[in-house]
C-alpha cells in the first residue's frame, strides 16, 4: 500500500505537542499532503530552525517517523528522545515549524483469505500499528493487539493504539503481563492461528516475532527500521539483507516487508 507523496519537502506547522508517558506526540497540520497515507508509511521530518548544533553537532539529516494518525489534514507522530534528532523534535510545541516529506514507502497490506489481524509491537513501534488499527476498525473489525514496553511509564503509550483491543506486557512487570510481548503473541496464536501478524518495534522484538511466526507458519508483515539519509530511495543507505540474497531499501521497498523474505531482522 503506497500513497504518493507531493514532490519535495513542505513547511508545516506544529499544531500541538503532548507528553504521553515516556513519549512525545506531535500533531502537525499538513493541508497539502494526501488525506489518506497508507498505514505503515512514514515521513521524513526536520525542524526548520536549528536542525544541527546538538550532541556532536548533529542532527544534519532528516529523521524518519511513521505516522500515528492522519485525520482532517492533521498528522500525528509519536517518538522518544533517543538522540539529537528526537531530542530536538521533542522540544517542539504548537506554532513551531517542520520540514516534512511524505508519505513515503510501502505500508501494510490488509488481511485477505479470512485471516484475523494480530498486531504485535511495542515502544515507538506503536504508530504504524495504530494507523493500521484505525483502517481495520473503519472496515468493521477492531483488531487484537499485544504490546510490549519497558515499564509503566512507557506502557502509557499503549493508549495511543485507540482502535485496537490491546494487552500490555512490561519488562519489569510494573503493569500488565510481566514478560515479553511474544509470550502474549504465542498465547494468541495458540488460541487461533488463522491470523496474519503485523508487527513493529525494536529489532530484538521484531526478530522474536518473526521467528515465532515462522515457527507457527503464520504470515507476518514487519515494519522495519533502518538508518536513513533520504527516505525516498536516493542514497541506498537503508538496506536490509534478503533471504534470497542481495538487499532491499527499507525506504522504498519497505518499511513493511513480508517476514518470509527475511532470514532475520538485523540489529540495526
Amino acid at each position: 500500500m503506497r500513497t504518493l507523496a507531493p514532490l519535495g519537502r513542505r513547511r508545516v506547522l506544529v499544531s500541538r505537542g503532548d507528553d504521553v508517558g515516556a513519549y512525545r506526540v506531535l500533531q502537525v497540520a499538513d493541508p497539502q499532503g494526501p488525506p489518506l497515507p497508507a498505514a505503515g508509511q512514514f515521513y521524513m521530518l526536520a525542524t526548520v530552525a536549528r536542525w544541527g548544533g546538538g550532541d556532536d553537532e548533529r542532527p544534519y539529516l532528516p529523521r524518519a517517523f511513521s505516522f500515528l494518525s492522519a485525520r482532517r489534514g492533521k498528522l500525528s507522530f509519536m517518538f522518544e528522545d533517543v538522540g539529537p534528532g528526537t531530542r530536538r523534535l521533542a522540544e517542539l510545541d504548537a506554532g513551531e515549524e517542520l520540514w516534512l516529506t511524505g508519505p513515503l514507502g510501502a505500508g501494510f497490506r490488509t488481511p485477505h483469505d479470512g485471516r484475523r489481524a494480530l498486531l504485535a509491537g511495542g515502544g515507538v513501534g506503536v504508530p504504524p500499528l495504530a494507523a493500521l488499527a484505525t483502517v481495520l476498525s473503519s472496515h468493521g473489525t477492531r483488531p487484537t493487539a499485544v504490546l510490549g514496553f519497558r515499564d509503566e511509564h512507557h506502557a502509557a503509550g499503549a493508549v495511543l493504539l485507540e482502535d485496537a483491543d490491546a494487552t500490555v506486557a512490561t519488562d519489569d512487570g510494573s503493569v500488565g503481563h510481566h514478560g515479553l510481548v511474544t509470550e502474549l503473541l504465542a498465547a494468541e496464536l495458540a488460541r487461533d492461528a488463522h491470523a496474519v501478524v503485523y508487527s513493529c518495534g525494536p529489532p530484538g522484538m521484531l526478530e522474536a516475532v518473526r521467528a515465532l511466526c515462522a515457527e507457527h507458519d503464520v504470515p507476518a508483515q514487519l515494519a522495519l527500521e533502518a538508518g536513513m539519509a533520504c527516505g525516498f530511495g536516493a542514497c541506498y543507505g537503508c538496506v536490509v539483507p534478503l533471504r534470497e540474497g542481495g538487499y532491499v531499501r527499507v525506504c522504498v521497498d519497505g518499511p513493511v516487508i513480508d517476514a518470509a523474505r527475511l532470514d532475520g531482522v538485523p540489529a540495526h
Binding site: L7, R9, A46, E57, P62, T101
Partner: protein, 288 residues
C-alpha cells in the same frame, strides 16, 4: 539555456552521481517528478560491468555537518542498466549522463563502448575513485595512471567524456591536467573524502564496508579549494560539487571556476534541492 560540452541545459544545477535515484523517486513522488525535475541533466549512479549488491549495512553515519557513506556501488551491472534502468531514465525530461567505473582498463573500455552506443545517453562520466588493485590507491590519485586510462578509453567514446576526479590525492590539479591532456571533455569534483566512523560503544568500525566517504556541508570549503586549484590549471569545463546547499554556495563554486554545480547530500535533506538552488542562483545572478 546554457551549453555544456554541447548539451543544452536549462540551468547549471545537476545532481552528483549516486545521490538521486530518479526511478525510486518516481515511485515515491509519481509523475510530478517529471513535470518538475530538479536538475538540468541527470547523472546516473555508478554502473559497473557486473552487478553489485553493495556493502553490508550499516551504510550511513551522520557526521558533523555531513555524513559518511559506505554504499559500495550497488547496481544492476551494465546489462541490467541497459535493460531495466535506461528505458526508465530515458523518460526524464533532461539529458542523461551515465557514470561508469571499472577496475581495469579493459572493464572501463567495455563500459564506455557499450554506453556510447546508446542514443538515450548524452554524456559519459568516468568515476576514477576506484582502488587500483595493484597499489590500493584510487586510480584517479595518480596523474600517470589516470592519463593511461583516459588515453585507452577516450577513442572509444564519441559522446562527451567527463572524468570525475578523486579528492584523496596530493595534487588534484595535476590529475585534472592529465585528464585534459588525454582528451577528456570535462572534469567533475569533488567526490567524498575518505573517512571512518566507530560504533558508539563497541570500538569497531560502524560501517559495514569498513571505511566510507564524507560528504555534505563539512567538505564545502575543501571542494572550493580543489575546484579553484583545478580551474587554475586546466581550461576544460568543470562540474563542481561538495556540500552545496544553497544558491550562495553555487555562486561561490561558479566564481572559482565551475561551469556546472552538482548537488549531492543536500538532495537527501530536500528532494527538490536542485530546483531550489537553481532558482536561488538565478535570483543572485540577476541581482548582480
Amino acid at each position: 539555456m546554457i551549453e555544456f560540452c554541447g548539451l543544452q541545459l536549462q540551468h547549471p544545477i545537476v545532481n552528483g552521481s549516486g545521490t538521486f535515484d530518479a526511478i525510486a523517486a518516481r515511485r515515491a513522488f509519481g509523475d510530478a517528478l517529471l513535470a518538475d525535475f530538479p536538475f538540468s541533466a541527470f547523472v546516473s549512479k555508478t554502473i559497473t560491468l557486473q552487478p553489485r549488491a553493495g556493502n553490508p549495512p550499516p551504510r550511513l553515519w551522520e557526521a558533523q555537518a555531513g555524513m559518511i557513506n559506505s554504499i559500495g556501488l550497488p547496481n544492476r551491472g551494465l546489462e541490467g542498466y541497459l535493460e531495466y534502468d535506461l528505458p526508465q531514465l530515458a523518460q526524464l525530461p533532461v539529458p542523461l549522463i551515465t557514470n561508469v567505473m571499472g577496475s581495469s582498463e579493459d572493464e572501463v573500455a567495455r563500459l564506455v563502448e557499450a554506453i556510447d552506443e546508446r542514443d538515450e545517453v548524452a554524456a559519459i562520466e568516468l568515476n576514477v575513485s576506484c582502488p587500483n588493485v595493484r597499489t590500493g590507491l584510487d586510480i584517479g590519485a595518480d596523474p600517470r595512471s589516470l592519463a593511461a586510462l583516459v588515453r585507452a578509453v577516450r577513442p572509444l567514446a564519441r559522446k562527451p567524456l567527463i572524468v570525475k576526479l578523486t579528492p584523496n590525492t596530493a595534487d588534484v590539479a595535476a590529475v585534472a591536467a592529465a585528464a585534459e591532456g588525454e582528451g577528456a571533455d570535462a572534469v567533475s569534483l569533488i567526490n567524498t573524502l575518505r573517512a571512518t566512523a566507530l560504533a558508539p560503544s563497541a570500538k569497531r568500525p560502524w560501517l559495514g564496508g569498513g571505511t566510507g566517504g564524507l560528504s555534505g556541508a563539512a567538505i564545502r570549503n575543501v571542494a572550493l579549494s580543489q575546484v579553484a586549484a583545478v580551474a587554475g590549471r586546466i581550461s576544460l569545463p568543470i562540474i563542481g560539487m561538495g556540500g552545496i546547499a544553497s544558491g550562495t554556495h553555487a555562486v561561490d563554486l561558479i566564481s572559482v571556476g565551475a561551469a556546472l554545480v552538482a548537488v549531492g547530500t543536500e538532495n537527501f535533506r530536500d528532494p527538490c534541492a536542485g530546483s531550489r538552488i537553481a532558482s536561488e542562483l538565478k535570483s543572485l545572478q540577476i541581482r548582480h
